[in-house]
Amino acid sequence: MKLKLPNPGLEDRILSHDELERLEVEEAGDRPKWDNKAQYMLTCVGFCVGLGNVWRFPYLCQSHGGGAFMIPFLILLVFEGIPLLHLEFAIGQRLRKGSVGVWRTINPYMLGVGIASLCVSFLVSLYYNTIIAWVMWYFFNSFQEPLPWSQCPINANRTGLVSECERSSPVDYFWYRETLNTSAAIEDTGGLQWWMILCLISAWGVLYVCCIRGIETTGKAVYVTSTLPYVVLTIFLIRGLTLKGSIDGIKFLFTPDLNELANPTTWLDAGAQVFYSFSLAFGGLISFSSYNSVHNNCEQDAVIISIINAFTSIYAATVIYSIIGFRATERFDDCLSGNILTLLNTFDLPEGNITESNYQEALHSLNTTNPDIISSLALKTCDLNSFLSEGVEGTGLAFIVFTEAITKMPLSPLWSVLFFIMLFCLGLSSMFGNIEGVLVPLQDLKVFPKSWPKEVISGVTCLVCCLVGLIFVQGSGNYWLALFDSFAGSIPLLTIAFSEMIGVVYVYGIDRFNEDLIFMIGHKPNIFWQATWRVISPLIMLAIFIFYFSTTVTKEIFYIAWDPESENFPTLEKKPYPSWIYVIIFLLAGIPSLSIPCTAVFRAIREYCCKKHPSAPVREIDSVTYKVHIQDEELKTQDSVYR
């Protein structure tokens, strides 16, 4: 099925293989380059490995049948993740441009794909850096003993603990009140929280320092940000395995339930996780691989990075669940000790009469002798499995569950500092890719004047993002972030990825693409790549997109709010969105997705209305001869100034 859509003028827009070879040898291009292969690999690994590997994958794994989830995950990794990754690497390396440049080169009508990538990268950068700001806030607060989230603060007249904290828990209170200061509903803006503004500024400041000169500075930063998480995960694994109950957690995580494989949601969640985990369709990966040398083996890179990503997900899941197992066991022990104490106190039995081992028999015997007293006591049911399956993901996992587990460990400030440094590094290295996906398209679209140095461009971009990001530091910021996360970072990415595959395979032409790969890496990609690029991966993408779209559009959208006045407090309350939110949802998901067809239409109209003259000035191309020509011209003009 060698379908190829007509694509006139493609030869003029791209560098030929000879020109590429000359560019490589003479190094006449002014494009930045990686200092060494390690920097490139670490940057890509850092971009792919992010917070999702730590707090989304473990939850999916545990809720979709534990060890059995590996099967759909690995299958979809091979058939969806690796082909897409190889495609993005190869096309970036071949065309040597950022995402906007690549799509404009392939076909000017496909410029919309690049613009969509730019929009999505921008929207995701906004809220992702807010999460990093939250991580920094917790990091700043970890340098004290006892940790501020280990105990409830005392109320104003010193008679007891603050009521909101007493009814929920110290970690919940610290997260919802002292960190976010959440309002009860998304309509309540709640005002800007000054301490969060400081953290946001520090997050954007650190990002600016690392991105100030593009990959020149990020390339140095990734040596730390990409490797430190692995060190910390190992430390936590060793610490976790020495704690009581950790093995229960790991067993719970990996216990396979093969029945889940029959559930289509499992496969769709696995596919979505693979897709989002690889940070595809953001445009950052295309940019990064465009700085490589032409003969870099992108096929090997794609496979290696995919394996590293999968390994990191599984490793992080093990570590997280060892700690969750510890926390669940602690909670279970506390619950049981509470019950035992109640029984001892009510019946005035000596201590040590009822222990954990004979609790059931003792309870039973007491129940037969005094059933009315037992029923009036309201003993809690303690079940380890229910504590383990308090399936928490996302910010709840990091800022509530894990912080609670840390308070129960000896030397809590140390573990807290380590954990939040790890989250910070994971988030920051992903942000490098997001910002690359924003800055390079902006330069390609010539939004900024050419005379502005790179430092100013990145500075202005970071400043604008920081100011817009102030939405997320209001009282209702958490709800806005959840909104952005669900809608800006899901459907648009699927449409972009689908368009990318169609664009490269059918518009650029799979034959030309194969020849390019022969030129770059020396051999034609084998039948696996051909089959996945042409048929399998686009179908998978389409299936996931249809599923997501249909579930999002049909169901009622709720958000969960922290409302101290609700009846089920401390359980989060489901609230429906106000009607004006639907406009915002449409803007978030619609604008990037619709820019793909709209740009094509707009361009077609422009071509039709204002037909270009044949003697138009020479378009700037990235060819060696053209650059040498320009240099000659410049020298001539300089000479004429002196003479």
Partner: protein, 220 residues
Amino acid sequence: MLAGVLLLIFLPPLVAKDLCKDSQDGFKVRLSIKTGLGDDAYEWNESEMFLFRSTLAYAMRKHSNQDTYTIDNILVCNDTQRVSFVFVVTSTDDPDQLIPKEQVELAVRQNKHRINNAFLLSDMTLEFMGIPPTLSAPIIYDTEPWLIVFGVVIGAVAVGIVALLMSTVSKKRRAKEKAAGLSEEDEGIVKENGTALSSLGRKEGVYNQAFSNDDRFTKL
């Protein structure tokens, strides 16, 4: 006679027991020694009870500033295996009169710390039912620790930004000077004997060893 003497001997404890059992001014105390001390737990016996009564007498003395309270003013009853009992405090002037509940509560609250320490226990393991533990004062920092860490991080970021911008500016300046030097070189070939006037434009000039000031070896 004998009956009267016997009655006199046995009446006070009986009366005392009644005072303790039926009174409204008593407090129930509960000790969880094994929970609090684990392996170092001690046995609860008469001597420990003696210690308890004496510490309570001490608490009453401190609270009322009267040195007349003795161990006999503290009456204990309802002793259980749990290690819980009820106590009442009798007045020093009249052994049949009890000190009101509020007074005892204040005395205990003031001296809870000393009572706890006498038994190596804490507010959780030595409970007086009805007397809530006094909450410890929250730690008040002069500067919040998080602000200090924030200051350090922001300072490092500012230093980094300034250093990188400075290095860019100096790199650009050097590149500009080099470009200026290059364009002058294109016009004339710099010769050692300096016939091309363009060499005068360069700041360093050309180092000619014949005219060096290094005459260490030529002086006699």
